[in-house]
């Protein structure tokens, strides 16, 4: 039996690897690792605390560390309402600007660590059709970046100077459609989703596929692949391998 499970897991890992096409290696690749503690406060009311780490640059560079808390309430059998806060500690990418000739350097701001505060409110509607749960989540997300003084090299002046990254807020609507399968006599629950991040334009699209694995309903493990298509030339598309653990108590 144990051998069969190993084979199943190996097959799943192979599936994830197959979805990680080498032809797209021009894109970036990274890792998402998260751990969450979740507690049921009352019937339909849950709260959670989460830490997350992300990397980029083909797993070589830390991208983000975040701490988050959320609360959710199942208002109806098919509707869940939730709200959350995240403290994001970002390793902002370097920024290079060029002169009008698009060749000569103008400014270089090396990568730097900075804080962001993120609030969100979500509505999730779900419906189970046979063994497939279809859910649609609409999330409004407001992120505030406080101002910060960073280093900037001005190529014209040939010297380092202080540069103020101005504080600003940003509203994003995230729409996610997810399918989750409950396969009988199998502890792995595959899922797939597509999510759109929209401001005035489509900012990014996330395509996710993975599996959930639960142990005694207390421990939940998640393994997934995420491909993120960026709408901005400043940020490359990225393949991400995600691993999550949730402890329910």
């Amino acid at each position: 039996m144990a051998g069969r499970k190993r084979k199943q897991l190996a097959a799943l890992l192979l599936m994830c690897a197959a979805l990680f096409p080498t032809s797209l290696l021009a894109d970036d690749a990274g890792l998402i690792v998260s751990a969450e503690a979740s507690r049921k406060l009352a019937k339909g009311l849950n709260t959670g605390f989460e830490v997350e780490f992300r990397s980029r640059n083909n797993f070589r560079t830390a991208d983000r560390v975040s701490l988050g808390a959320d609360i959710s309430y199942k208002a109806l059998s098919w509707l869940k309402v939730s709200a959350g806060y995240n403290l994001l500690i970002d390793n902002n990418r370097e920024q290079i600007t060029y002169q009008d000739d698009e060749v000569s350097y103008n400014n270089w701001r090396p990568s730097y660590w900075g804080l962001r505060h993120r609030f969100n409110v979500s509505l999730t509607a779900s419906r189970k059709v046979q063994r497939v749960t279809i859910s649609l989540r609409e999330r409004w997300q407001y992120t505030y970046r406080p101002s910060k003084i960073i280093d900037n090299f001005d190529f014209d002046e040939g010297e380092w100077e202080d540069y103020e990254v101005r504080g600003k807020g940003k509203n994003v609507l995230r729409s996610r459609l997810q399918l989750e399968w409950d396969i009988p006599k199998w502890k792995f629950d595959p899922f797939a989703s597509v999510e759109f991040h929209t401001t005035r334009d489509l900012e990014k699209t996330r395509i996710i596929t993975g599996v959930d694995y639960s142990v005694k309903k207390k421990h939940n493990f998640q393994l997934y692949y995420r491909y993120q298509i960026s709408g901005s030339s400043d940020e490359p598309n990225i393949h991400m391998l995600g691993m999550g653990y949730t402890y329910k108590f």
């Binding site: 144990a2 190993r6 890792l31 690792v33 070589r60 560079t61 000569s104 350097y105 014209d156 040939g158």
Partner: protein
């Protein structure tokens, strides 16, 4: 299963721990190229050791008439300032000298006449008429004209301006010129004809209203001469038909918007000596018929060919869009030492160490150019660097070629 989960956990933690590499571009070497400081360009009044100035004796040589030694100066008139009117000594038939206070007007219908000028006046001038070449020997003369040029030659022939050996001379104009109809006076020292500087004295020209030294013909500077020009309005040293520098020490400083330190409308040839020009002005904006036009400063501006055969040339522009050298035609360097630096901003115009609209060629000497905020050398035509150079380095801000 538990082992697999633990295994994945360990691998994941391993990846997290090695995610400590930066993904920034390696800019170290690039930044080092941009942090370079320019060569020092400063007015230089130090002594200059030059080879003996040997006059051309071949009458067929086009430069023959530029040598004051090739003319017999038997007719001499001395003008000494110092009182309410100058003391004029000597008479020459065909030469009329009129004074109005210390403003002296000379009409020369005679031929080659030598005028020896000395003394100081704070409200005087010399104005020459006549189509005969003549010599002005400044022998410790200090002339200030609050309302126009200190020396104004309205004749079209050569004015030999000889600085008496060891003499210290000064010419200054005023901020507002009183113009005479159908007469130009474009500078504190102005000549419709050629000006040939010689002698082993010093001349300072301070220009407040217009240019410093200007000829509507050409200017030649011979070895031994020491000239300093400070112009707050227009160009420092300018000639319509060319500038030839055979030697001497010339320092030029301008601060006016759009002003050029040295400007030549004709061929500029440098055969020796030392020339330092520093232009501090910003770009000038002029609106004509509602259309705005801009003109940037340049330490050296030349409409035609610039040839450097020998000598030491240093140019610097510090204002917005200023150029060390702005050549509208061709630049040829055969020898000598040439340095041009631009440190200005680029709000209205792009600063350049050297900007050449035509071709650039070099086969000897030393050539250096620096721009703080743009490419050091811009050549619209072709660039030819002859083989045999010792150094040919081009960075984002500095270009150096040496033989």
């Amino acid at each position: 299963m538990r082992k697999i989960i633990y295994g994945l956990f360990v691998v994941t933690m391993g990846i997290v721990l090695v995610s400590c590499q930066k993904d920034d571009t390696d800019m170290g070497d690039i930044i080092a190229q941009y942090q370079v400081e320019p060569a020092e360009i400063a007015l230089d009044f130090s002594a200059l050791t030059e080879a003996p100035d040997v006059p051309v004796t071949d009458e067929a040589d086009s430069a023959y008439n530029d040598y004051v030694e090739n003319t017999a100066w038997n007719k001499v008139i001395s003008i000494a300032f110092g009182g309410e009117t100058p003391v004029v000594t000597g008479t020459v038939p065909g030469v009329v000298v009129q004074t109005s206070g210390n403003h002296v007007t000379i009409v020369n219908m005679s031929g080659p006449v030598k005028f020896v000028v000395s003394g100081k006046t704070t409200d005087g001038s010399l104005k020459f008429y006549g189509d005969k070449r003549f010599q002005v020997m400044l022998n410790n003369a200090e002339i200030t004209n609050p309302s126009g040029a200190a020396i104004n030659n309205q004749g079209s022939k050569t004015m030999y301006l000889v600085l008496a050996d060891g003499s210290v001379n000064r010419l200054q104009d005023g901020p507002d010129y009183v113009m005479v109809e159908e007469e130009d006076q474009k500078a504190a020292l102005f000549s419709e004809g050629q000006i040939v500087f010689s002698g082993k004295g010093e001349l300072s020209v301070v220009a407040q209203g217009r240019g410093g030294i200007r000829s509507d013909d050409y200017i030649r500077v011979r070895p031994g001469v020491k000239i300093y020009v400070n112009s707050v309005a227009l160009d420092g040293l300018r000639a319509n038909d060319g500038i030839i520098i055979d030697g001497g020490v010339i320092n030029v400083e301008t601060t006016g918007a759009g002003a050029k330190g040295v400007r030549s409308g004709g061929v500029m040839a440098v055969n020796g000596g030392r020339l330092v020009a520093i232009s501090h002005g910003d770009t000038r904006i002029e609106t004509v018929d509602g259309v705005a036009d801009t003109s940037a400063c340049a330490a050296l501006y030349c409409d035609t060919l610039v040839t450097v055969n020998a000598g030491t040339l240093k140019f610097m522009a510090t204002g917005d869009g200023g150029k060390g050298l702005n050549a509208k035609h061709q630049v040829v360097v055969h020898g000598g030492s040439f340095q041009a630096v631009a440190t200005g901003t680029k709000k209205l115009k792009k600063p350049r160490g050297v900007k050449i609209d035509g071709n650039f060629s070099i086969d000897g000497g030393y050539f250096y150019t620096y721009s703080r905020r743009s490419d050091p050398l811009e050549v619209d035509g072709t660039t030819t660097v002859a083989p045999g150079y010792k150094t040919y380095d081009k960075g984002p801000k500095v270009l150096t070629i040496s033989y």
